[in-house]
């Protein structure tokens, strides 16, 4: 039996070497530190199981107040504020990727531990504050019968909803609290497998074009490159005709899109690849160049080659654009919204809020907060500043931020939380709850 023990030793050593912890290198800002690739036999996993908030609230900086304005939602993701101040919340959970490998089976069971047990609502909920006190007076189902809705846009009097498999248009009458009419299909969206199912949505300033973020069908091409046709791209769609084209590519999972208020340029937050170590690859925020290729799957942050893709394509690697701004590895950025014209005031006047859903695949958890990326002259300037924190407590997740939306006319930031099934609203303490400021148009 002694020899059996000796034979088992290398196995134990492997397992011990399998949970590398991050070394705390700086991975935010314009030039993140990118460590060497580390490939562990057992990837590190640290799930934060859900826990109730009780009487606690997420933490916001001094001078700000946070309140829950909607509870008992069914997996809230992205939000939209209509011109009359009504808030729309897309609720749902998509993806129907088949179990292809023994690993998919095991990973699915593990990841489910960190999610809300609630079934996705497949609907849009409307939240109305009738008297302007910041509280919700009406919470009602606005559109039902959807299929994992995620991206929302309001363009020329119509509401656009990006389901996991198609883009729908709903006619909207001012003040409506329910749309019973079936949506008009603008175009089908790539939905085969749908490993990354979320379809983020943004409209150009003049409303003539819609942009849909379509995530990759794998971590790093392990379902074969045939499955990656029209994946890891941002589509530009003509809402009038439904015609589409690839606007930018190589963006692994563009989970939120928004136009900046300064130069009216398209920006995306994207989730980068896994299993190269706890500090690879940082998720990012970037302006999206027309025709740009951002590396996935062949390389990341410009020309750092990923050896897991075969055959490799050096010509594509050479073309890869380095993203503008790193947010940190595995933070799972899912929300993006801009604030300008004084924004939320103080350190949060000019820049982008980013919702970070939080990691599950490194031993020390990252993300689980909303950060603010300060901008100057339409470009990121400086390190991200924590804005909403406290989602983690003793290794449990009381909430996980998804979509964020800056409600400019009312000076409020909205945060969707898909573990607490809550929408949070943050305002400056003591500010008039409803400020009519024509200088602050809804973006």
């Amino acid at each position: 039996m002694k020899r059996l023990t000796i034979a088992a030793l290398p196995c134990l050593a492997f397992v011990a070497a399998c949970s590398p912890s991050s070394k705390g290198v700086d991975q935010t800002g314009q030039s993140p530190t990118l460590p060497e690739q580390a490939s562990a036999l057992l990837p590190a996993i640290a799930i934060a199981p859900p826990e109730a908030w009780g009487n606690d609230l997420p933490t916001v900086p001094a001078g700000y107040t946070i309140t829950a304005i909607a509870k008992d939602l069914k997996i809230p993701r992205q939000m939209l504020v209509l011109p009359n101040g009504d808030i729309l919340v897309a609720e749902g959970s998509g993806g129907h990727a088949p179990t292809l490998r023994p690993k998919d089976l095991i990973a699915g069971l593990i990841k489910a531990q960190g999610k809300s047990p609630v079934t996705g609502g497949d609907r849009i909920t409307l939240l109305r504050d009738a008297n302007g006190d910041g509280q919700t007076d009406l919470q009602t189902t606005f559109i039902s019968g959807l299929d994992a809705p995620y991206g929302l846009a309001f363009v020329n009097g119509a509401i656009y909803v990006a389901n996991q498999g198609d883009l729908l248009r709903f006619p909207y009458a001012d003040g409506a609290t329910n749309i019973a009419a079936p949506g008009q299909k603008v175009t089908a969206l790539p939905a085969v497998i749908n490993h990354h199912w979320t379809k983020s949505l943004a409209a150009s300033a003049d409303g003539s074009k819609l942009y849909v973020g379509i995530g990759s069908n794998s971590n790093i091409g392990e379902r074969g490159m045939d499955a990656e046709e029209d994946r890891a791209v941002i589509w530009e769609i003509d809402p009038a005709t439904g015609t589409n084209r690839v606007f930018a590519s190589g963006i692994r999972n563009p989970t939120a899109l928004a136009f900046d208020p300064w130069q009216r340029q398209l920006w995306a937050v994207a989730n980068e690849r896994d299993e190269l170590g706890p500090e690879l690859v940082p998720d990012y925020l970037t302006s999206v160049r027309e025709g740009g290729f951002y590396g996935w799957p062949y390389s990341y942050y410009g020309q750092t080659v990923d050896p897991r893709v075969h055959p490799q394509k050096p010509d594509m690697v050479a073309k890869a654009i380095k993203p503008d701004y790193a947010l940190g590895s595995h933070v799972a950025a899912l929300g993006l919204t801009f604030a300008s014209n004084g924004g939320m005031g103080g350190a949060f006047a000019e820049g982008a809020f980013v919702g970070e859903h939080g990691s599950w695949n490194r031993s020390d958890r990252s993300g689980y907060k909303v950060v603010f990326v300060p901008f100057k002259g339409g470009r990121p300037a400086g390190k991200p500043v924590d804005f909403v924190t406290g989602f983690l407590a003793d290794g449990k997740a009381r909430g996980r931020p998804v979509g964020v939306f800056y409600d400019a006319p009312r000076g409020a930031l909205l945060v969707a939380d898909d573990v607490a099934n809550t929408v949070w609203r943050i305002t400056r303490t003591g500010q008039p709850t409803r400020t009519s400021n024509p200088e602050n148009p809804v973006l």
Binding site: R3, L4, A7, A8, P10, C11, F14, S39, L41, L42, L100, R101, P102, K103, S218, N219, I220, G221, E222, R223, G224, D274, E275, P297, P307, R308, V309, H310, P311
Partner: protein, 145 residues
Amino acid sequence: MPESGVHAAAPASPLHAILLAFPVALYPSALISDITYLQTSVVQWTNFSQWLIAGADLFAGLLLAWTIASLLFGRARHARGRGKATLIVVAVMFVLGIINALQHSKDGWASVGTTGLILSIACTILAIVAAFLVHSRTIVREVRP
């Protein structure tokens, strides 16, 4: 009371032989599938390998339990030298098989590589060696009147 004479019995019970048959069939299949993946880069081959290795590991684990039990309580205690050799081969095969499953669970081209190929070769050889050790002997008992 058995009849007098010389009795020959198969050393492995049918159940033991069935458990052993899985690693013997599945590890070499995974090796062939690995080689095909390395030659074609078509991911379905590494997916095949992963299921083949997972199946082989499952039965290798059961086989290991059987081998230990049989060494302690069963027929193998009549042939302890060989029984121990079998145990070591099966144990090493199982451990390498588990490491190989983890290696193969890496994504994309990293799933096989030199490490995966070497581990698949090692498991294949060990499975065949285990089969020879178990099946190429008979237990002969003489019962005298």
